[in-house]
């Protein structure tokens, strides 16, 4: 059964090819059937493979490596097209296919009337390279059905690339998937291509992540040159053998891989592309820019964790980047008005938590948070999509309100998602995964009270901004009439994801609360954990603090955004308040910084050298020769008296020279 593994990425690939080559002849029904069905089948096969891998007992089997063919073979360098299954890639594969399938299903209905309609220009979207923002033209008529087909073709291709990324048995194939998801991200952010702002956002995403990818590529050169292979398992074994802890090469390699990871996972300082990426259709934001692709950086570091154990400096950097990112992004999430941008900053912040976990060596906790986050964040985006659609492309949360009556299913599922994101104690999955990370940040030998403190502040802020959304969107007075209601294909995924956002947490429950460790045991063979000496009392004390932070955040949100909205207005009214909120809305000024330092100089150089200075030098040379020719040409007048005069003058000069010298 395990040998069906290759079908998991191959089925969506088939779907993509069918849609790309022959999709023009298909009806929308067929397109949806192929697009959704290919991912559904892939999920089924993934389930079968997973079952074969774990067996009835639920314990992971031996890692399975399926080599399809040798990609290339030159002087000892022989990467394969091969897939590697262990508990880490299995968890990733199952989450990707499950969430991917649900989002495809949702899209089949959602995109029916969205294939043709561009989203209005977002709020405060910063422009990247490309044209400045221009208001969206109305409708993309004549392109209706091909948009529907294009959407599913790209989405299928994305699933292929993402699965390749997590299943690859060597870093070169991983890199193929890595760049492939970047391409699909670009294509889908710019899906509504008429609006130049979308094009700019799409290009920005590709270019910024490519910067990270280049670092990753150089990291591959370092690893391959010094360790002689790119097969991940061999690589880790050789690194542990040949490089002592703290060795220079290990540190350099780990930092270079980290460069790739922060680009893809939108961590500081390469996080600027993700908020703009919200220009894409909402299901895209849910799948690519929340649940799966942006967590690729987390996966890469978890996959190569042996290397990070050899490079303590790099690992500490991971923790610090995670902690700082989670705080900065949480502050920005707090002040955005666009519902999708709130969720985008929230994603950056939550991935910050994953990086924090990786940085303190809590590999399994990072993977666990990835899993719960995939459920609740996909849920939040999909529910937000329902809201936006129902309010006719309204993104501004201050123009929403009271929707809990009009959209009951959406309200309850969104509430569950937000509670999970906020880490509402005991019943939500987000609580258990976040609590685990915070606990490790304190108790791990690599942890520190500072990291824990940052995470705790983040937990408070997370609860605050999550319920800011809930209260503004679903409570209060209705400010706009809700239009279309979601159908079954959209409600179904919401309900399944909501269930996941609640129960997924019970896979790993701390000692005091019930002591379940299914998840950590399942992944233990791949992702080792630390033995901690901290007492149960400390642990429970910390847990209570975490719970209080979340509850406090929710209560403050209740007061500020429902009971006394005047308070917020008053704070923002002050000079300090308004400056700070503008600073946070702009994402701490990173866009402006990069614009001044990199984008403008590049554009200036490109414009200044448009006509190629080197070519101008040659043209100048040609001009000189023409001038020389013109001067000489003038001497040839055809008049004998001139010739005679010059002849005479020349003779005089020569005679004079001879006589005088």
């Amino acid at each position: 059964m395990l040998d069906l593994l290759w079908l998991v990425p191959a089925l969506p690939l088939l779907g993509f090819l069918a849609l790309a080559v022959a999709g023009g002849w298909f009806s929308r029904r067929t397109i949806a059937l192929i697009g959704v069905g290919s991912v559904g089948l892939s999920l089924a096969v993934a389930g079968l493979v997973g079952f074969a891998f774990t067996g009835l007992s639920g314990t992971p089997g031996r890692p399975y490596d399926q080599i399809l063919w040798t990609w290339l073979q030159i002087s000892g360098f022989g990467p394969t097209i091969g897939f590697y299954l262990d508990s880490l890639s299995l968890v990733m594969m199952l989450v990707i296919t499950l969430v991917g399938f649900l989002i495809h299903l949702y899209s089949a209905e959602f995109m029916l009337d969205h294939g043709k309609e561009p989203a209005p220009a977002g709020l405060g979207r910063a422009g990247g390279i490309g044209q400045a923002g221009v208001s969206a033209p109305a409708g993309q008529a004549g392109e209706n059905d091909s948009g529907y087909r294009r959407f599913f073709a790209y989405m299928n291709l994305f699933v292929v690339a993402m699965l390749t990324l997590v299943l690859a048995d060597n870093l070169l194939l991983l890199y193929l998937g890595w760049e492939g998801v970047g391409l699909c991200s670009y294509l889908l952010i710019g899906f509504w291509y008429r609006d130049p702002a979308n094009g700019a956002a799409a290009q920005k995403a590709f270019i910024v992540t490519r910067l990270g990818d280049v670092a990753l590529a150089i990291g591959l050169f370092v690893l391959l040159t010094h360790l002689g292979t790119l097969n991940i398992q061999d690589l880790m074994a050789r690194a542990a053998e040949q490089w002592p802890v703290g060795s220079g090469l290990a540190t350099i390699a780990a930092f270079l891989l980290l460069g790739g990871a922060i680009g893809k996972s939108a961590q500081l300082p390469l996080q600027t592309w993700l908020p703009d990426a919200m220009a894409g259709p909402t299901p895209v934001s849910a799948l690519i820019h929340a649940a799966t692709m942006v967590t690729a950086g987390m996966y890469l570091i978890a996959r190569t964790h042996v290397l990070y154990s050899l490079a303590p400096t790099a690992q500490a950097a991971v923790a610090v980047i995670g902690a700082v990112t989670l705080l900065l992004a949480a502050c920005s999430a707090l002040v955005q008005r666009d519902i999708k941008r709130v969720l985008a900053y929230s994603t950056i912040s939550q991935i910050g938590y994953m990086f924090l976990a990786l940085g303190v060596g809590a590999w399994a906790a990072a993977l666990f948070h990835f899993t719960t986050h995939a459920f609740f964040k996909a849920l939040l985006f999909l529910a937000a999509g329902v809201v936006i659609r129902s309010l006719h492309e309204e993104h501004d949360i201050y123009r929403m309100g009271g929707l809990r009556h009009a959209l009951p299913v959406t309200f309850w599922t969104f509430l569950i998602g937000a509670a999970s994101l906020a880490g509402f104690p005991l019943v939500t999955a987000g609580f258990y995964s976040k609590d685990w990370i915070l606990w490790e940040a304190w108790a791990s030998p690599l942890g520190s009270p500072w990291l824990w403190g940052a995470g705790l502040c983040g937990a408070f802020l997370t609860a605050l901004y999550s319920f800011r959304l809930v209260f503004n969107v679903f409570f209060g007075e209705a400010k706009a009439e809700a239009g279309s209601r979601p159908g079954l294909m959209m409600k179904g995924p919401l309900i399944v994801l909501a269930a996941g956002s609640l129960v997924a947490g019970f896979l790993e429950v701390p000692r005091v609360l019930g002591d379940v460790s299914l998840f950590s045991e399942f992944t233990h063979s791949v992702l080792p954990s630390f033995e901690t000496a901290t007492s149960v009392t400390t642990e429970s004390a910390l847990q209570i603090v975490t719970m209080l932070a979340a509850l406090l955040g929710i209560s403050v949100a209740y007061v500020l955004f429902l009971r006394r909205p005047g308070l917020v207005t008053a704070v923002i009214g002050t000079a300090w308040g308004s400056a700070l909120s503008r600073f946070w809305i702009e994402g701490w000024g990173f866009d402006r910084l990069y614009d001044t330092w990199f984008v403008r100089p590049f554009l200036w150089v490109a414009q200044a050298n448009k006509d190629d200075l080197i070519d101008q030098v040659y043209s100048g040379l040609a001009w000189l020769i023409r001038q020389f020719f013109a001067v000489l040409h003038r001497t040839q007048t055809g008049q004998v008296r001139w010739y005679a005069a010059i002849l005479a003058a020349g003779s005089v000069v020569i005679v004079a020279l001879v006589v005088l010298s």
Binding site: T70, Q73, F77, R194, G199, F206, I218, Q607
Partner: protein
């Protein structure tokens, strides 16, 4: 003999195509296509035969070899020979020749017979360059490429065709002249030492000489090849020539003529003067790196689609220069892969640019925009080649660039890291193509037919080859591998000899 037939067939078909135009104007393009089709079959036979005898041919250097005395007095022979490197480039030449004919099918209406005559003769010249193993013969073919190309640009080109053609001719000819001097110098030194007058490549290999002299002679070869490649700062002819040439001419210029420069470096400049090349390598690698970045920035700034693609060629060929002068197995394989992949990708982009110009009457991207809605197939296929051009994994371009950088990392870390930034720059200009032409609001209300079936077949074949290069490159790597190993061997052997 098959080697001669490859060339003679094209040389003979040229005049026939020209003559028969008077009878029936349709005939000349069919003759050109037919001749190239036969050539393609012949070349594929060569390749498959070679696959069968691969284990036997390891000792011999050549897979096919033909030597006929030509001017015995000066030791000049008509010596054609084929190894894996030549074979791949011969295949590329014929394949792109077919696509160039297909791209010119409806574009060329004026004096079509003479057009196909020139096209076939350029291709014959290119084949000769890839096969000649006598330096004098090599030089003859080098010039045979030049003249018909000049006519292709100056007769069927666009607005500034004569300026572009003259510029092309002057740059190339200046380089050729230096190479001729270097060839004569090398023969002279060889004669002094051994008393044998010869232009034969294999006999000239391993000629020992003073280091300074070797460096100057090497620079003579390098000049010709660096102009053709082109390496910055000798690239100024390229944007004009590529932009002004008709579509078929641009395909051949970018896809093949540039490759003759790269081929010359690998075949002649380095193996004939290994020590001098090694001393010069840091300079050449820096030139390659500068070319990668300089070309990419310029490409982004262009508003003319063909000019943008032309400057992107400079950037891509920078990788080849970097790879060749890293001179290790991985970098050289990468350089060869980059040559093949760039030929396909850039050829396709020029075909697309030509087809767009045929429909809209302009290449100015400022007047375009939002064309995806009008011509979706056009957009989709341009997208495929744009992302190949930015080196997305799965394309041959990616493997080429990755292997070159991997190899050059071993030779020079700093240059490699800077060159790798070219990967970011490539994204910027490649995506600009899509954004400016197919995305954004509609520039003008164009109505144009989408790609025809003929275009789809041509471009579909090019996509297939590109994906094959990207995902199953081993046959190509193997074919090139043995030849490259031999070439590296020449270098090492002569190093040993000269050190004794």
């Amino acid at each position: 003999m098959i080697l001669v037939w490859l060339i003679v067939l094209l040389l003979a078909a040229g005049p026939v195509a020209w003559m028969l135009e008077r009878r029936e104007s349709q005939w000349s393009r069919w003759i050109a296509l037919g001749a190239l089709a036969i050539d393609l079959v012949l070349a594929l036979i060569l390749w498959t035969e070679r696959e069968a005898t691969v284990s036997l041919s390891n000792q011999g250097v050549w897979l096919a070899d033909l030597s006929i005395p030509w001017i015995p007095r000066f030791g000049i022979t008509f010596h054609l020979a084929l190894d894996g490197l030549s074979l791949l480039l011969v295949l590329l030449t014929i394949f792109l020749g077919v696509t160039a004919v297909a791209a010119s099918w409806t574009e060329i209406r004026e004096r079509a017979g003479f057009f196909y005559f020139n096209l076939l003769w350029v291709l014959a010249g290119v084949l000769g360059v890839f096969l000649a193993m006598d330096l004098f013969l090599f030089f003859v073919f080098w010039e045979v490429m030049l003249v018909p190309m000049y006519f292709l640009i100056s007769v069927w080109g666009h607005e500034h065709r004569v300026y572009a053609a003259v510029k092309f001719f002057l740059f190339t000819q200046a380089g050729s002249l230096l190479m001729l001097i270097a060839i004569l110098g090398l023969t002279f030194i060889h004669t002094q030492q051994t008393g044998v007058v010869t232009f034969d490549y294999q006999q000239l290999l391993g000629t020992t000489m003073d280091q300074t002299v070797a460096l100057w002679l090497m620079l003579g070869f390098f000049a010709a090849f660096a102009v053709k490649l082109p390496a910055v700062p000798f690239h100024a002819w390229l944007p004009d020539a590529h932009t002004e040439a008709p579509t078929g001419g641009s395909v051949i210029l970018a896809g093949l003529l540039l490759k003759t420069g790269a081929y010359g470096l690998i075949r002649f400049a380095v193996p004939l003067f290994p020590d001098a090349a090694q001393a010069f390598a840091p300079v050449a690698m820096v030139l390659g790196m500068v070319g990668i970045l300089y070309g990419a920035v310029l490409a982004f700034a262009q508003t003319d689609l063909k000019r943008l693609v032309a400057y992107s060629s400079i950037s891509h060929l920078g990788f080849v220069l970097l790879g060749v002068f890293s001179w290790n197995a991985i970098a050289l394989e990468g350089a060869v892969m980059q040559m093949l992949a760039h030929g396909i990708t850039t050829g396709a982009l020029f075909i697309l640019a030509g087809a767009l110009q045929e429909r809209l009457g302009t290449r100015d991207m400022r007047r375009m925009g939002g064309l995806w809605a009008t011509v979706p197939r056009f957009g989709a296929i341009t997208l495929v080649f744009s992302i190949a051009s930015l080196g997305l994994p799965g394309s041959g371009n990616f493997l080429g660039e990755f292997l070159v950088l991997l190899g050059s990392y071993r030779a020079n870390v700093l240059v490699t890291v800077l060159a790798a930034l070219g990967l970011v720059a490539a994204v910027i200009y490649s995506l600009a193509i899509m954004q400016r032409i197919f995305h954004g609001p509609a520039g003008e209300s164009w109505t144009a037919p989408d790609l025809s079936t003929r275009d789809l077949v041509t471009l579909g074949a090019m996509i297939a080859v590109q994906v094959w290069l990207g995902l199953y490159p081993q046959p190509v790597l193997d074919t090139a591998g043995q030849a490259l190993q031999n070439l590296r061997g020449f270098g090492e052997v002569t190093v040993l000899i000269s050190r004794r």
